[in-house]
């Protein structure tokens, strides 16, 4: 049984946050984890998770920026702001003066503008018990807030680092863009080599005509179990461009809900993932069209090697009032070893006629013709396979909303490829 959230906090939080956590804890009571009988948890490894195995972090005991994070920050010098979160607690926050004067806020949500209102504005009660646990246990939520009309022309970095052995960690990131604002956020999920259960909740709130780029790079260590909810809301003529790289964790699941609530809103959702060893990488996506003339475009591309597994299930939901919707969903999987396994289940649920929708999914080995073509020029087999796989991902990596991070993701993929393809 997890420790009650208020007892876990060593430093005082504002009364409203304490009250909120208590209310959520009372609501969920003794939490029951979902079963794989539920469609959205089918093929997941939720049955292997026991909350009693993990201990919530004592926020008072967390301090300092880990060495590995310094190295990462040195690799990404062009930035408007940086927030470092360690085991769910903000340990460093800094906004470049030029952007601070524009009104950019990046730091502890409890210190930010309209923090109380922003927290949960998109997530609500959350889609599942892990999101609810996040609500009940969140130690120190992060807010990135851009005022209406402001363009932030350098990325905002959020580094979410986990290095507490045996910990249950509940990070929360809220990104809010005012009307006609523009910003790119890089959310880096890394860890030391520790066993941990991490259940992040990410809320992306895009106001009218605002443009948000959000890149999530998940490179946790191989003993981390992670269950993420990424929840977004896009208002009239707003644009969300989200890209995820799912590379780390023993089990790493991300549920992505993109809700297009204003006329003309656009959501572009992309992901790359690469599984090795015994990893399971699990993605559930919901493209929800709740207003006319909205567009969603999803492209998830993954590779599974060794005895790793990947799961993709996606739903395009077009509500009755969402006339003129364009919704596309593509999931492509490369199976690099005979013991690897990829599941792909696309779905549509459409309540109006005036729509343009498509979905496509594939699971297959490396394209034999592409490999043969490269080999016919004298490229050794394993190099040819590496080139083909890297090329397979290039389509997504070239469109990453935070350009500077592409080489880091490419490097992480290369390192996995470099281990050799069977």
């Amino acid at each position: 049984m997890p420790t009650p959230p208020d007892a876990a906090l060593a430093s005082p939080a504002p009364a409203w946050l304490d009250e909120r956590r208590r209310a959520v804890a009372a609501r969920i009571g003794e939490p029951t984890l979902p079963s794989t009988d539920e469609e959205v948890w089918r093929y997941s490894r939720v049955a292997d998770i026991d909350l009693d195995d993990w201990t919530p972090v004592d926020p008072g005991a967390v301090a300092g920026v880990p060495e590995e994070v310094h190295d990462l920050l040195a690799a990404l010098p062009e930035r408007a702001a940086v927030v470092v979160v360690r085991n769910g607690v903000v340990v460093h926050a800094e906004v470049a003066p030029a952007y601070e004067s524009l009104g950019l806020f990046a730091g502890r949500l409890v210190d930010g503008p309209t923090g109380e209102e922003a927290l949960g504005a998109v997530a609500g009660e959350g889609p599942d018990v892990f999101a609810a646990l996040n609500d009940a246990h969140l130690a120190d939520p992060v807010l990135v807030s851009v005022p209406a009309g402001v363009t932030v022309d350098r990325p905002v970095l959020v580094v979410d680092w986990v290095d507490a052995e045996g910990a249950a960690v509940y990070p929360r990131l809220v990104v809010r863009l005012g009307a006609d604002a523009q910003a790119d956020v890089l959310d880096w999920h890394g860890s030391a080599d520790v066993a941990a259960l991490v259940a992040p909740v990410i809320e992306l709130d895009v106001a009218a005509a605002a443009r948000l780029g959000y890149a999530n790079v998940q490179v946790r260590g191989g003993r981390v179990w992670q269950v993420t909810s990424q929840l977004s809301r896009v208002e009239r003529d707003g644009t969300l461009t989200s890209a995820q790289a799912g590379l780390g964790g023993e089990y790493a699941r991300t549920r992505t809900d993109c809700r297009l609530v204003g006329r003309g809103a656009t959501g572009t959702l992309q992901a790359v993932y690469f599984g090795t060893d015994s990893q399971t990488l699990d993605f559930r996506t919901f493209q929800q069209h709740a207003a006319p003339d909205t567009t969603s475009n999803l492209l998830f591309k993954g590779a599974v090697d060794d005895s790793s597994r990947s799961v993709y299930t996606g739903l395009i939901k077009v509500e009755k009032e969402a006339r003129g919707t364009n919704a596309f969903q593509t999931n492509r999987n490369l199976k690099l070893s005979e013991h690897a396994w990829a599941e792909s289940v696309p779905n549509l649920e459409i309540e109006t006629n005036d729509v343009r929708c498509s979905h496509a999914s594939t699971v297959g080995p490396i394209d034999e013709d592409q490999r043969f073509y490269l080999e016919s020029r004298g490229v050794p087999t394993e190099v040819a396979e590496r080139l083909v796989v890297a090329g397979f991902f290039a389509e997504v990596l070239e469109g990453l909303p935070v350009r500077d991070v592409a080489p880091l993701v490419e490097l992480a993929i290369e390192q996995r490829l470099g281990r050799g393809i069977d």
């Binding site: 034999e368 013709d369 592409q370 043969f372 073509y373 490269l374 080999e375 016919s376 020029r377 004298g378 490229v379 050794p380 087999t381 190099v383 040819a384 080139l387 083909v388 890297a390 090329g391 397979f392 991902f393 290039a394 389509e395």
Partner: protein, 286 residues
Amino acid sequence: MTGTRAGELRIEGLRAEVAGREILHGIDLHVRSGEVHAVMGPNGSGKSTLSHVLMGKPGYTVTGGSVTLDGVELLSLPTWQRAQAGLFLAMQYPVEVPGVSVDDLLTEALAAAGRDVTVVHTEVAAEAERIGLATRLLDRPVNVDLSGGEKKRNETLQLAVLKPRFAVLDELDSGLDVDALRACARRVEAATTESDLGVLAITHYHRLLDELRPDVVHILVKGRIVATGGPELAAELERTGYAAWTDEEAEAQPEAPKARAIDPSMHPGAGGPGGMFGDPFADPLA
């Protein structure tokens, strides 16, 4: 059988099958460095099978014979080592490889050979200029969104940078206009004198041979070489067609399966001489 010698691509008694059906019934061809040999044949004669088997494309089973390049047996080598041994295949339908540029490709190929890769970018640019391939196309992934002519120029560019000992040109003349054909043919011909390249040009049509003048012409029908001669043989074929050869062969041999039906690279609509119907000598662009 004569012994192998340096400066020679030597195909002896090559037999190959696809899905249990023999397509090549014993091919003998000896191409010396600097020579241009044309292999001409109608649809279904095994032309593409021959080029694919030489390069080791998956899906074909060699059931007999040998192929040596400068004395090195190729048939026991994986595709990339055949290329490293000096063989190049200019493909009829060059494959699009998303995310891989021609620079990346040639850098890896030359690195595997232990050759200098610092010159790749410059050499690619110089060859593009020489072959008439717009340099802006070099930033694209290999063959992606290129026209038929651009793809063949790109194949020729790679040949020029890699400098193989022997090149198999599989229907180099399909799917490209006369300007591109001339540019590619002239570059290949130059390589025969500049670097002593030996060429095996596989084609259905005569027009390639107007640009790339062969020393020897072979006629391939139903998996066998049925005639070998000088350039005059191609000229004779131009006048009389394949009928004389195919009729005679049809009586002697059971019908061979059509290569088109079993070759996965020859997907419909890929461009190239299309048809099993009509005049086999018709210029596809006429």
